[in-house]
Each structure stands twice: as structure tokens, then as C-alpha cells.
């Protein structure tokens, strides 16, 4: 198995929101989806996931409903709210800008050049 990457502080909420884009899911399948999309490289602790879910729900970014799982067991399903969708859009664009800026800095090849 390849070396794990830990989830950066603050990005877990965004990832959880993303996972719910295509429809309601329960906690286990959110975890499974994150593992699968990262080719098992991203390590999300079960103990971190659930507080994140509950927090997002308290912030009205996702809502929950009890339903039946694929194996016919009672499970709590989470779904994105409109506010959650908006938050995901904003966070995603912010994240992309952040990554590109950091990347530009880290890929610098020489000291600063004076422009004026």
C-alpha cells in the first residue's frame, strides 16, 4: 500500500461536501468514497469524519434523514442543502486559487527579481 496522506486541517469539510454532490450517502459510504477517489492514499480517520458530518449539519450545509441502507439496515443519510452547494462552490474556487498560488511560490527557481 502506498504511503498515506493525512487530510489537511480544514479541508475535510470541503471533501465531505464534495462526496455528497451526487446524492445522499451515509457516513460509511462517504468514507469509502473518499478512500476510493484518492486511491487509498488519503487517510481519513473514522473519528474525524463523524464530528465533521454533525458540524456541517448544525451549520445547515447538509441535512440528514434516517433511511434503509443497501443491506436493509437503518442508517442515517446525509444530503447537501442549497447552502451546502454554495459553500462547496466557494470553498472549491478558494482552494484552487490557494493551491495555484502556493504552487507558484514553491516552484520558484531563483531569488526575487526587482521590477521597478
Amino acid at each position: 500500500m502506498a504511503a498515506h496522506v493525512d487530510v489537511l486541517q480544514g479541508t475535510l469539510d470541503m471533501l465531505v461536501l464534495k462526496s455528497l454532490t451526487w446524492g445522499p450517502m451515509h457516513g460509511y459510504s462517504v468514507l469509502a468514497w473518499l478512500r476510493q477517489r484518492s486511491d487509498d492514499q488519503l487517510r481519513v480517520e473514522d473519528a474525524a469524519l463523524y464530528p465533521a458530518l454533525h458540524r456541517l449539519e448544525a451549520r445547515r450545509l447538509i441535512e440528514s434523514e434516517w433511511g434503509l441502507s443497501e443491506n436493509n439496515r437503518r442508517a442515517k443519510f446525509y444530503r447537501l442543502t442549497t447552502a451546502g452547494r454554495r459553500a462547496l462552490r466557494e470553498e472549491t474556487s478558494h482552494w484552487s486559487r490557494y493551491v495555484s498560488v502556493i504552487d507558484r511560490i514553491l516552484s520558484a527557481t531563483g531569488p526575487a527579481t526587482r521590477t521597478a
Partner: protein, 894 residues
């Protein structure tokens, strides 16, 4: 197990159980995943436990989030319900606008009056002084052998300051005295206080511009400097930026303004200018008690040990100086208590009065509320029958009373804002710290608290009474009976009795104060005020040449004033009766002969022999003072031109001084001297006895008084009131007199008052309290009569049927009317008796405020009782007339 719990959830959310279900499902799914890959279940669980992290902590965190969320939801829901109740209440109140307006107006009156008075109480009594650590600022007093508080002499103060430990700073000051000041423009009058160097340090105030006194300004003969207050700078000096270094001329000295103090400094009252005390050499007389003293207690010293310290120092000094000092001990009083002083009693009385008014208002509102609740019993019963919970009904009652109290409270605050402004305009000017009164957070908090309490009281009483037994009764009795239950009736009667009782307390208070006012007003002051104009001028002293020219100025103004048309007499006095300021008193020695020469030591020795000493007020007069004021000459003669400076010095004494000091002798011809109190050791020969004058106020007994002539004793004639008796309106004299003064001394600004105005002003604070209590009393009377009216009107509506039957059986309209009116009169009678008891119990609140009447004044009690019963009878008469007009046929047919 789990499924059972699911059904239990029907009764409400259970976040812990839900969370456990959710996490258990998660774990099962994870285990199943590993088992699918071929792991045994125990291995899978172990593996997951390693990977998953601290699940207990996660569970705990989730639970916290969920519970917080749940609480928030509950609150939001409760708020939503409450808003709905409020909307319902508003709708139902809109349907009965008369009731709504009545209740709101009544509450606004009560809350407004209480809040207005409270804002005065807060500003004057409760608010800390606007200085840093104000509780440590104290006013020092020396105590004489009889433990009477007194002012300080320079030597005593200097010794105490040198030895005292545990104080940060001590300072001397004088109360503000009026001086004539000339600046760049017209001369004006201003309050000035002499203060010693540490005065500002004691208070902890800083200059806004410039600085306080520098060391070279704090020595005798140093460069003359003044510090001014912020308001003096703005109002008298135009608030100009280049005020520092500008010059003010007071008398013959020109001072330069070195500082403007920050706004907080408003002490001593009336001071605009501060002169450095140290500019003049300290007095060597240990018994010249001319200074007040202020100190700041060190932060590390307890008040008790500070008290002990000053007392110890004073007693040491007594031992050292013995009879040379009159100080036996010393003490201090927190400055705030000293400032507030006499106002406390009056303000607390007013607060109590406004509180009574609020209670009466509440009783009225509860009464209206009950009537309304009873009227709505049909509606309530239907709601109960339809399954509305009692709690919901109570909640709705609370919402309604919250709306009513809220609107009433808001209007009350508006009323209070207006009221405080009116109060301050009415205020006689002797209220300490009046500048600090205003509407601020604590005052608004008080209004809010009053409103909330009122809302709760109304809601709870209304809900308890209005909701109780409604269903059963209405269902059983049908629409026919709308009569309130006996308990409700009793409660309403009690409320009316309470209202009458409280109104009686207020009105008796107003009556006592009113009769006291009349008694004071009719008190003959010892002179005739009609037709007299007083002109207040302040000149500055100096050497004998200056003093002589002052006397010439007075003489000339009097002479030219007397020549004005209509002027009959003109005279002068240094302290005008009934006007504050300028009084002095002292101890005198009776000499054996005019030739007897007494040294200071002789004086001190003689002052211990009772038959050689006396004490009196000391006044300087001139011209025809006694004729101008119409103070009778009882024996002997007036000065009448015999008072040349070099002639033997003459004196007149008042009747009470003659009677108290020489009861069995003839005082005429007696030789007395005041030990150089005014810097002149020459003795006086008493040549006449004049009538007594009420000096300090109309209430206090005339003080034994001594009069000398300003020609012979000009030193204490710096500030004089020239009085002119005229035929016709004395105020018309002010213009020509002002012209005369301007011609003679353009730099002296005179102030004119008629003696009538002076006397009226001396009654101002008494009138202030009387007007307020009177207004409260009138409002209470109005509210109480409304209370009686509403209860009796309601009673008539209830007993409509019974009355109809009586009339059908031959009862005459008069007897029906009499029966109804009797109900009102009985309630009022009980109220009067209860109120009289209350008033007797609370009479110590007016003690000291009444004059010429006793707190148990029978006429006041009788008049008020009769008034209340009459008003109650009148208030019942309207419903009684309605009752007598009930057509029996209609009632019987229905």
C-alpha cells in the same frame, strides 16, 4: 431493544441514542468490509480500532454538537410560538382600542413618573462622583468640644496636614463666592473659589488646556494666576483656543489664566474660577475657622484607619495647644454624602411617591385586565373545550400583558425624558449634582426592569384569575351567567381598596406639604418685602484708602438712588435676609468700659467667663437700611449720621439678641467687641434695638443679630446689597440704578432682585417638592376614581338582572341609585381607613419636611378622606344612574 427505543423517540428527540445507532451501523459496515476480504470478525474489529482513531472522543464531540443544536432549535421554536402569541394579542387588542389605550396610558404614567424620579435619584444619590476612585475623596471637619463639625483655621489645617499619614493629598478650599470680574468685554459676576495647591490632585482632575498652579504661583505675592472650569471657559471666555495667558481682572489684581480644567470638575458648586489660596499669607489665628478641607485617602489605607489617623492627630494637637484651639477632634465624611446631604430625604420621598403611583397604576390595569378576562370567558371556555392547554392560555395572557407593558413602558420612557427635563426646569437650583442627571443606561435599565415586573405581575394575575374554572362555569351556566366568581370579585374589590389607600397616602402627603407651605409662606419675615428692590454689588477690598472709596461709592449710590422718583428710603446690608451667602457670626466680649483695652490673651481669657461673652450674627449695614426694609426700631436710636469713621463705633442689636443676652438688663449703652473679627479691635456701643428678621429662611427662628455701620467697619462691606423702598413697581428702578453704578464704577456689574423674588426663591425647594407630590397625588386620585368607576360599572352590568327584578317589584330609581353608590362609598371607606393606617406608619418620611403642622395633621387627613369618599361616590354615580335606567321589562323578557 433498539427498536423499542425508536418508538420511545416519538416523545422527543434523543440525540445520544441516534448517535449510537449511527456509529454502530458504521462499525458494522467497516467490519463487514474486512470480513469480505477474509478477515475474522475479531481481527477486523481490532484492525478498525487501530485505524479509526479515538471514537469515544468523536462520539462525545458529536453529541455536544447535536445537543447544542437541539437547544438552539427549542429556543427558536419557543420564540416563534411567543411571537405568534404576541401577534394574536396585538390583534385582539386592536379590536378593543379603548381598553388598550387606557391600559397603556395608565402604565406609561406609572412607569414614566417612576423612571423620571429614578433618573434624578440615580444622578444625585447613586452615581459615583465623576472623579477617579471617588469613594476615597472625603471632606474633613474639625470637631469642637461638643463634637460639632466645623471649618478649619490655617494653623490647625497646616498642623494636621503635616502630621497626617494615610492620605494622598489634602487641600483647603472655600465655597464659591460671587466676584466682579473684568476680562476683555463687559464686566460680569462669577463664582470663585480659593483653593490650596493640592486641590486638583485631591479630586484627581486634570487640565484640559494649560496647567494647574505652578510653585511660583503658590507663594504669598507670587504671580497672580487663575484656573477656570470648562464651562466658565466656554460661556464667559467664549471658548477661544488662545485662552491660556489671557487676563482677568478681579478687583485691583490682574490674573493670568493658566489652565482650563476638564469638564468633570464641578466642585465646589457654582465655582467658575479657582484662585490660589497661597497667594495670600496664611492667617496666624488658630480660631479663624474660614476654610473647608478636602482629602484623598490613600488606596492602601482603610477608611477606618484613615478616620483613626486624623482623629489621633487632632487630639494630639488639642493636647499641645489646649485652649488656643477649639478643635478637640477631627473627622471626615465621604464627599458624595456631604454633597448629597439634605437632598437624600426629599429624593427618597419622591421616589417612594412615584412608586406608590406605579402601584396604583398597576392595580388599575389588573382591574381592567380582569374585567376583560371575564368578558372573554366565553371565548376562553370555547378554546379550552377545543383542547387548548391551560399552559397555552397562560402563555397568551403573558404575551398580552407583555405587549401592554412593553408599549406602556416605551411610552413611559418617553414621558420620563420629557418629565426629567421639566423637573430640571422646576428644580430650585439647590439640588446638588443636577448636571449629572440624565437618561442613561442604568435609568433605561430601571425602566426595563419596572416594565418586566409589571408585565409578569399582570400576566400571572390575569392568567390565574381569568383562566380558572372558566370552562366548568360557563359550560354549566350557559351564556346566561356572566357574573364573575366570588373570588374574582373579592380580588377586584381589594384592588380598589388598595388604590384608595395608596391614593390617600399620597394625598395626605401632598396635604401636609401644602399646609406647611402655606404656614411658611404666611410667616412674617420681620420686614416688608413689597416695594423693595435689592441691588447686589461686589467690590474688592484693599487698604484703608480703597475701603474709604468703597464707602463713598455706596453712599453716593444710595444718595442718588434716594433722589429717583418714587424712592422713599435707601439702605444697604452685607447679607440680604433669605438670600444665600455672605453671612458671618462670631463671639463677642462684653467690656466693662469703653476705655478697657483688651489684648488677644485677655480676649481669650475672658471668652471662658460666661457672663462676659455672647454670640451673634454679625451684619454690616448702611444708609437707611432699617427704614428701607421696614424693620422696626424698638428702643434707642438708629445710626442716623452719627457713624463717622472716627466717632465711637456704634451698634444696633436685634430684639432676640437683647432678650437672650441681657434678659434682666438694659442692653443700651453696653460696650462689646468681637476680638477683631473684621480686623478692627475697636469696641462698639449699643445704641438701639431693632426688630427680629428671619435671615436664613422663613422657617428657622430669627437669629440673634448684631449690626454695625459700613462707614465705621468697611472691611466686611465688600459685597453689599443696596435696598431701595419705592412707591409703585420697584423693578422699574433697576434701569436708572444701573446707570448710576455704571457712571461711578463701570467695572462693577450690579444684579437686581425684588425682595418679593428673593422670598419666593427661598421657598423654591419647598415648592418643588410640593408640586411634584401634588402632581402625583392628583394622578393617584384620577387613577383611583377610574378604578372605582370600572369596578362599580362592572358590578352594575353583572347585576343588571337582579336590579331589573327589584325595579319590577317596585324599587324606586333613587333607592337603586343609592344602593349602587353605597357600594362605591363602602369600598372607598375601607380604603380610607387602611390608607390612614399606612400614612401613619409612613409618617417619618415627611418628618422634617412639614412646618407648622404635625405629621398627624387632622385637617389634612379629614379633607383627603372626604375628598376620596366624595370622588368615589361621584365615580359610582354614573353607573348608578345607568342602573336606575334599566327597563325592568327588558330584563324580565330576556
Amino acid at each position: 431493544m433498539r427498536s423499542a427505543r425508536r418508538y420511545l423517540r416519538f416523545f422527543g428527540p434523543d440525540p445520544a441514542a441516534d448517535l449510537d445507532d449511527e456509529l454502530a451501523f458504521h462499525l458494522d459496515m467497516r467490519v463487514a468490509e474486512y470480513v469480505r476480504l477474509g478477515m475474522s470478525e475479531p481481527d477486523a474489529r481490532r484492525r478498525i480500532a487501530e485505524e479509526a482513531g479515538d471514537m469515544d472522543a468523536a462520539r462525545h464531540e458529536c453529541l455536544e454538537i447535536d445537543q447544542r443544536e437541539l437547544r438552539r432549535q427549542d429556543m427558536r421554536e419557543a420564540f416563534g410560538t411567543w411571537m405568534r402569541d404576541v401577534r394574536v394579542a396585538l390583534r385582539s387588542l386592536r379590536r378593543s382600542p379603548g381598553y388598550f389605550a387606557g391600559v397603556v396610558a395608565t402604565l406609561a404614567l406609572g412607569i414614566g413618573a417612576t423612571t423620571a424620579i429614578y433618573s434624578v435619584v440615580h444622578g444625585v444619590l447613586l452615581r459615583p462622583l465623576p472623579y477617579p476612585e471617588p469613594d476615597r475623596i472625603v471632606q474633613l471637619f474639625q470637631l469642637d468640644a461638643d463634637a460639632r463639625k466645623g471649618q478649619w483655621s490655617d494653623p490647625n489645617f497646616a498642623d494636621v496636614r503635616e502630621r497626617l499619614r494615610g492620605f494622598d493629598a489634602v487641600a483647603q478650599f472655600t465655597p464659591a463666592a460671587t466676584l466682579s470680574v473684568a476680562g476683555a468685554g463687559e464686566p460680569f459676576r462669577a463664582g470663585a473659589s480659593a483653593v490650596s495647591g493640592d486641590f486638583f490632585r485631591v479630586l484627581g482632575v486634570r487640565p484640559l488646556r494649560g496647567r494647574t498652579f505652578a510653585p511660583e504661583e503658590l507663594v504669598p505675592g507670587g504671580s497672580p494666576a487663575v484656573v477656570v472650569t470648562e464651562s466658565f471657559w466656554r460661556n464667559q471666555l467664549g471658548g477661544s483656543e488662545d485662552v491660556i495667558g489671557s487676563r482677568l481682572t478681579i478687583g485691583r489684581t490682574t490674573y493670568s489664566v493658566v489652565g482650563v480644567m476638564e469638564r468633570a470638575l464641578a466642585f465646589p458648586a457654582g465655582a467658575g474660577i479657582y484662585l490660589p489660596k497661597e497667594l495670600n499669607a496664611p492667617s496666624p489665628f488658630r480660631t479663624g475657622h474660614n476654610w473647608q478641607a478636602l482629602a484623598r485617602v490613600n488606596a492602601g489605607t482603610s477608611m477606618q484607619s484613615a478616620q483613626d489617623a486624623i482623629s489621633r492627630v487632632a487630639r494630639e494637637l488639642k493636647q499641645q495647644h489646649g485652649d488656643d484651639t477649639m478643635m478637640s477632634d477631627a473627622t471626615f465624611v465621604p464627599l458624595r454624602d456631604q454633597l448629597v446631604g439634605k437632598s437624600r430625604k426629599v429624593l427618597l420621598l419622591l421616589l417612594a411617591a412615584s412608586g406608590l403611583l406605579l402601584l396604583i397604576a398597576c392595580a388599575n390595569v389588573v382591574n381592567l385586565l380582569l374585567a376583560r378576562a371575564t368578558a372573554r370567558r366565553g371565548e376562553i371556555a370555547v378554546r379550552l373545550a377545543l383542547g387548548a392547554g391551560r399552559a397555552r392560555l397562560v402563555a397568551q395572557f403573558l404575551a398580552e400583558s407583555a405587549v401592554v407593558a412593553g408599549v406602556g413602558g416605551a411610552l413611559g420612557v418617553v414621558l420620563a425624558l420629557v418629565g426629567v427635563r421639566a423637573l430640571l426646569r422646576l428644580e430650585p437650583g439647590d439640588l446638588p449634582r443636577a448636571g449629572e442627571i440624565g437618561t442613561n443606561l442604568p435609568v433605561l435599565g430601571f425602566a426595563l426592569l419596572a416594565t418586566v415586573l409589571v408585565a409578569l405581575a399582570l400576566g400571572v394575575i390575569g392568567a390565574l384569575r381569568g383562566g380558572r374554572g372558566a370552562l366548568r362555569e360557563v359550560m354549566a351556566e350557559g351564556q346566561r351567567s356572566m357574573s364573575g366568581s366570588g373570588a374574582a370579585r373579592r380580588l377586584r374589590d381589594t384592588l380598589v381598596v388598595a388604590q384608595i389607600a395608596l391614593a390617600l397616602v399620597l394625598l395626605v402627603g401632598a396635604g401636609l406639604l401644602g399646609r406647611s407651605f402655606l404656614a411658611v409662606f404666611n410667616q412674617y419675615p420681620g420686614y416688608r418685602t413689597e416695594g423693595v428692590l435689592a441691588m447686589d454689588v461686589t467690590l474688592s477690598g484693599g487698604d484703608t484708602t480703597v475701603l474709604a472709596s468703597n464707602v463713598r461709592f455706596y453712599d453716593e449710590v444710595l444718595e442718588r438712588g434716594r433722589a429717583l422718583p418714587g424712592v422713599m428710603h435707601a439702605g444697604a446690608v452685607n447679607a440680604l435676609p433669605l438670600a444665600p451667602g455672605g453671612v458671618s457670626s462670631g463671639m463677642f466680649i462684653i467690656q466693662r468700659s469703653i476705655a478697657e483695652r483688651l489684648t488677644f490673651d485677655d480676649f481669650r481669657a475672658l471668652s471662658k467667663i460666661p457672663e462676659r461673652v455672647g454670640e451673634s450674627q454679625f451684619r454690616i449695614v448702611g444708609g437707611d437700611y432699617f427704614r428701607a426694609m421696614d424693620i422696626p426700631l424698638l428702643r434707642g436710636r438708629l445710626f442716623d449720621g452719627q457713624d463717622a469713621p472716627d466717632a465711637p463705633h456704634l451698634a444696633l442689636i436685634s430684639e432676640s439678641l437683647a432678650r437672650s443676652r441681657w434678659p434682666d438688663e438694659d442692653p443700651l449703652g453696653k460696650i462689646i467687641q468681637y476680638g477683631g473679627m473684621d480686623g478692627d479691635p475697636r469696641p462698639f456701643t449699643i445704641v438701639g434695638i431693632v426688630g427680629d428678621v428671619r435671615e436664613a429662611n422663613l422657617e428657622a427662628r430669627p437669629l440673634p443679630t448684631f449690626y454695625a455701620s459700613y462707614r465705621q467697619r468697611p472691611r466686611m462691606a465688600g459685597r453689599m446689597n443696596l435696598v431701595f423702598r419705592a412707591q409703585g413697581d420697584p423693578a422699574a428702578l433697576s434701569a436708572p440704578l444701573r446707570g448710576i453704578v455704571h457712571e461711578l464704577r463701570p467695572q462693577v456689574p450690579p444684579r437686581f432682585r425684588t425682595m418679593q423674588a428673593v422670598m419666593t426663591e427661598s421657598l423654591a425647594s419647598r415648592r418643588f417638592v410640593l408640586v411634584l407630590i401634588g402632581v402625583f397625588g392628583a394622578a393617584a386620585l384620577l387613577l383611583a376614581s377610574l378604578g372605582v368607576y370600572s369596578v362599580i360599572a362592572y358590578l352594575v352590568a353583572q347585576r343588571r338582572r337582579e336590579i331589573g327584578v327589584r325595579m319590577a317589584l317596585g324599587a324606586r330609581p333613587e333607592s337603586v341609585r343609592r344602593m349602587v353608590v353605597r357600594e362605591g362609598v363602602v369600598l372607598a371607606g375601607v380604603g380610607v381607613v387602611v390608607g390612614a393606617l399606612f400614612a401613619m406608619a409612613g409618617r417619618r418620611y415627611v418628618e422634617g419636611l412639614q412646618y407648622g403642622v404635625r405629621a398627624t395633621d387632622v385637617p389634612s387627613f379629614t379633607a383627603v378622606s372626604v375628598l376620596l369618599v366624595t370622588v368615589a361616590a361621584l365615580a359610582s354615580w354614573f353607573p348608578a344612574r345607568k342602573a336606575a335606567a334599566i327597563p325592568p321589562a327588558d330584563v324580565l323578557r330576556s
